[in-house]
């Protein structure tokens, strides 16, 4: 594969980041009725009524989000490739960690949405089934955040070690990334609490950490796209002279 085509594929992969961001917020958040999300304190009957009131939208939102969540994968791959260049080709452990963290994030988000699709699959099921499926979905996505935290910390550590003239990420973005990654820690409390700001519908376990995660994702995407465009420019400038040299021979 020539340089130009390789860079073009990289650019497409990096643009999967904004594509994920928009489609995730739209389908998972709005269409799937997760903004605001159901309270863990709802009774089984109230939860079932919530599903039945918007059954079509909830099905559409989560089924579509299960497709579009895969935009996260190419984005993770291009970030891993960019990190590997900084880290060096021999034992790029942090790049691997970021790669596997991103892949597992996709699975965690997917599994939780599958449970909500299952809940909506048989509207005549008992209310307790709806409750069990909803609980399982939320506890999966809220308790398995560490895959994403490690992905973010790995990306930040490599970013901080970048000594290039124009680094991939500015240093302040790297520190903010680490903070955004650890802002998920209060989400562990969702495994115990049903009310208050630390429950899975609370500001401190849901709205703030998820907002931080998506902010990091958007910011990192901008810098990744910029990096690829810089390389494209360098490649385009280098190309004519290369052709000239080839022609001269």
């Amino acid at each position: 594969m020539d340089e130009k085509l390789r860079l073009r594929y990289q650019l497409i992969c990096a643009w999967c980041g904004p594509a994920f961001l928009l489609t995730f917020v739209f389908f998972w958040g709005f269409v799937g009725h997760n903004i605001p999300n159901p309270s863990p304190d709802l009774t089984a009957e109230a939860l079932k009524s919530r599903y039945l009131a918007d059954l079509g939208e909830i099905r559409l939102g989560f089924i579509m989000s299960l497709i579009t969540v895969c935009f996260y994968m190419p984005w993770t791959c291009v970030l891993a490739a960019q990190m590997r260049r900084i880290e060096g080709s021999e034992m790029p452990v942090l790049s691997y960690l970021q790669l596997i963290g991103g892949a597992l994030t996709v699975m965690v988000v997917s599994f939780s949405a599958v449970f909500w699709v299952v809940a909506a699959f048989r509207p005549d099921a008992p209310a307790s089934t709806f409750q069990m499926m909803t609980d399982t979905g939320w506890l999966i996505i809220d308790l398995c955040y560490c895959c994403t935290t490690l992905q973010m910390v790995a990306a930040a550590l490599v970013g901080l070690a970048d000594k290039s003239k124009v680094p991939l990420f500015p240093r302040w973005v790297c520190y903010l990334t680490i903070w955004c990654g650890i802002s998920f820690f209060p989400a562990s409390l969702t495994g115990v609490l049903k009310t208050g700001p630390f429950a899975w519908n609370g500001a401190l376990s849901y709205y703030i950490p998820y907002f931080c995660w998506l902010c990091w994702f958007g910011t990192a995407s901008i810098y990744m796209i910029k990096e690829i465009r810089r390389r494209m420019t360098v490649s385009e400038v280098a190309m004519p002279s290369g052709r000239l040299a080839h022609g001269a021979v």
Binding site: Y175, W179, G196, P197
Partner: protein, 199 residues
């Protein structure tokens, strides 16, 4: 002569204005402060709605534990400042003992928290007992994680200091660690009155 004096003044002025440590770390510190700010606002909003309930639940807290920990953190911050002063005065051998003392106080803070939590759990109180205790365990628990992280950072600085790494010309790493530790201290200074004293 006057030009030398004015140059020195300018440098001093610039030095006083600059943020200690790595300036980019301050983004992290401000983000942490904002996060805790959100915690405090959430607590106050809930406290205002159920003032009597919170005040009744607050009586189960042992203020002496909180006060001892406040003293531990304030003295540890003084110790960290003394370590920084020693490094700035180019006395690298005096840096490690001050940091060691601050680390000991950080570990003592964790010990007091262990006894405090144990007493609560033994008397059947946990974070699901009521809203006040939910906030108490969550906020002090998240702060405790910061104390642990801060102590680890101080241990790294102490290890470097024992090798004489910090002196007038190499102080940034120590300043960064110290800034984080002061933030941990500052958060407790807000947390202690909010949870233990506010009625």
């Amino acid at each position: 002569m006057s030009s030398i004096a004015s140059t020195t003044d300018t440098e001093l002025g610039r030095d006083a204005r600059r943020l200690p440590g790595d300036p980019d770390v301050w983004i992290f510190i401000f983000a942490e402060l904002l996060m805790f700010g959100a915690f405090f606002v959430a607590y106050i909003v809930n406290w205002m709605g159920h003032r009597e309930v919170y005040t009744a639940a607050q009586t189960t807290l042992d203020r002496s534990f909180g006060l001892i920990n406040t003293i531990f953190l304030i003295v540890s911050s003084w110790s960290v400042v003394s370590a920084l002063k020693a490094a700035r005065a180019n006395r690298p051998r005096h840096v490690a003992p001050f940091l060691g003392f601050a680390i000991a106080l950080g570990i003592s803070f964790m010990g007091v928290k262990y006894f405090e939590y144990s007493a609560k759990l033994d008397s059947g109180i946990d974070l699901t007992t009521d809203d006040f205790h939910m906030f108490y365990f969550c906020l002090t628990g998240i702060h405790l994680l910061h104390v642990i992280a801060g102590t680890v950072i101080l241990i790294v600085c102490w290890t470097n200091a024992r090798q004489g790494a910090y002196h007038r010309d190499n102080i940034r790493g120590l300043e960064t660690g110290a800034s984080y530790w002061h933030m941990v201290d500052l958060l407790w200074i807000f947390l202690f009155p909010l949870l233990y004293l506010l009625r």
